[in-house]
């Protein structure tokens, strides 16, 4: 036996070194797979929420939010979820890399597959409203997130720039309805000269994007009205309005 082998064996005996039990290694491998699955699941939820939020944006009105289309577009993007999705992607990739033979696959392939998987599952979660449920749960239980989403919704409320958004709570006449804005203010909206986009039959419980001019506090002369609400609308206003346009 060589000097080195003797020395190693001597140390093993002297320090009572023993091979670690197999279950520890198995547990570690399982842990990485679990982490991978959780990351992909959360990533798909994030993708579902991103889809919902983007689908809920009234793109024709974003220039009222930011002053111009480019800034408006940048302002309404769901950054929290985009960043969160990036993190889950990173975590999923790292977890996969740590699995038994994960290193054999190229990062670009792994990331690509996780991305595709997340998008597919995201579409499914969006369709079956699992992403909505997940977000609702967050809004209910995570105050900070709820506040953040309120802030994002509040961006759409910009009477100085000519846009107000809220729920129709009263129909005053054929040309006037009362809007409970998302910030809680009450506005009387005159639609006499307004163009209705989509359906043109405002009813109590519907949401409305209204562009035009604030003539005095509480009064708004509309030039465009888009009635919103219903299942296909999510953030920034999803679930807020009970009635769907056309119902």
């Amino acid at each position: 036996m060589s000097k080195l082998s003797k020395s190693v064996l001597g140390k093993i005996k002297k320090c009572h070194i023993k091979p670690k039990p197999r279950w520890q290694f198995v547990a570690l491998r399982v842990l990485f797979w679990v982490l991978f699955i959780i990351s992909v699941f959360l990533g798909s939820m994030a993708t579902g929420i991103i889809m919902s939020q983007l689908a809920g944006v009234e793109w024709g009105f974003v220039h009222f939010v930011g002053g111009n289309k480019a800034i408006g577009f940048l302002m309404v993007l769901p950054y929290i979820w985009l960043v969160f999705f990036g993190l889950t992607l990173f975590l999923a990739h790292k977890s996969f890399e740590k699995t038994k033979k994960g290193y054999r696959h190229k990062s670009i392939t792994v990331i690509g597959l996780i991305l595709v998987l997340s998008v597919i599952l995201g579409v499914v979660s969006h369709q079956v409203r699992a992403a909505h449920g997940f977000e609702d749960m967050l809004r209910t239980h995570v105050g900070t997130y709820d506040k953040w989403e309120d802030y994002r919704e509040g961006m759409w409320m910009n009477p100085e720039n000519g846009i107000i958004v809220g729920e129709i709570i009263e129909i005053d006449s054929d040309t006037t309805f009362i809007l409970n804005a998302i910030t809680g203010e009450i506005w009387a909206v005159d639609t006499a000269e307004a163009v209705f986009k989509g359906c043109n039959d405002p009813e109590i419980g519907m949401g409305a994007f209204v562009t035009g001019e604030s003539v005095e506090k509480g009064d708004f002369d509309a030039d465009q009205v888009k009635l919103i609400g219903g299942d296909h609308h999510r953030s920034p206003f999803g679930g807020k309005f009970e009635r769907k346009c056309g119902e």
Binding site: L4, S7, V8, I12, K20, F25, K100, R104, K106
Partner: protein, 194 residues
């Protein structure tokens, strides 16, 4: 001793798990190869390389249950030695690693080993050229030097290198090509014709 020669690595691992004395057989089988690898890869002295290998063997023993029989034991052992060597270099901040051009008699440089085992010495018979080859290899970045050592001196295939370096085979191929190109470039700069 003869009875162990017939046994596969997997069988020896199983024996070592039952009886720690049997681990000596695995060590005996790989000691020389792994020592050579450490010295070639990191340019450590014999003494330092033995220190690294001792730690690596202890780690191998502790982690015997983690050995995946679908891989070669050698790849797994090389992987642990690779990590241990890198840890050693980091910890000692190159204090005990040597430039390959050193003439310190106590230190066997990487190129000395390379020359003793490959055709390089045959091709570059003259001392002057030998010095240049030595210099070229010494100036190669460690990751290039390691992959050249694994492929051409340890004679490992891409799959084994992939398992040792924990990189995809495509990346191994790319790294190898870059290492060869880098070696050739440095050889040219040193007026070395191979």
């Amino acid at each position: 001793m003869h009875k162990y020669r017939e046994k596969t690595d997997v069988e020896l691992v199983k024996l070592a798990l039952k009886d720690q004395e049997e681990f000596a057989q695995l060590m005996e089988r790989y000691e020389e190869k792994l020592l050579r690898y450490i010295r070639r890869f990191a340019g450590l002295s014999q003494e330092c390389a033995e220190d690294v290998l001792q730690e690596a063997f202890l780690k191998i023993y502790r982690n015997l249950n983690d050995f995946d029989t679908s891989l070669k034991f050698s790849s797994w052992a090389y992987r642990i030695v690779h990590n241990e060597t890198i840890n050693y270099i980091r910890k000692h901040n190159d204090k005990k690693t040597v430039g390959l051009e050193t003439d310190d008699p106590d230190i066997v440089s990487l190129i000395d080993i390379l020359e003793s085992d490959t055709d390089v010495s045959g091709d570059v018979a003259k001392k002057e050229l030998s010095e240049k080859v030595r210099h070229v290899l010494a100036t190669l970045p460690a990751h290039y030097r390691e992959i050249l050592v694994l492929r051409f001196l340890e004679d490992m295939d891409y799959s084994e290198i992939s398992d040792i370096l924990k990189k995809p085979m495509g990346t191994v191929a790319t790294l190898l090509n870059r290492a060869k190109a880098s070696f050739k470039q440095l050889a040219l700069e040193n007026n070395l014709t191979l």
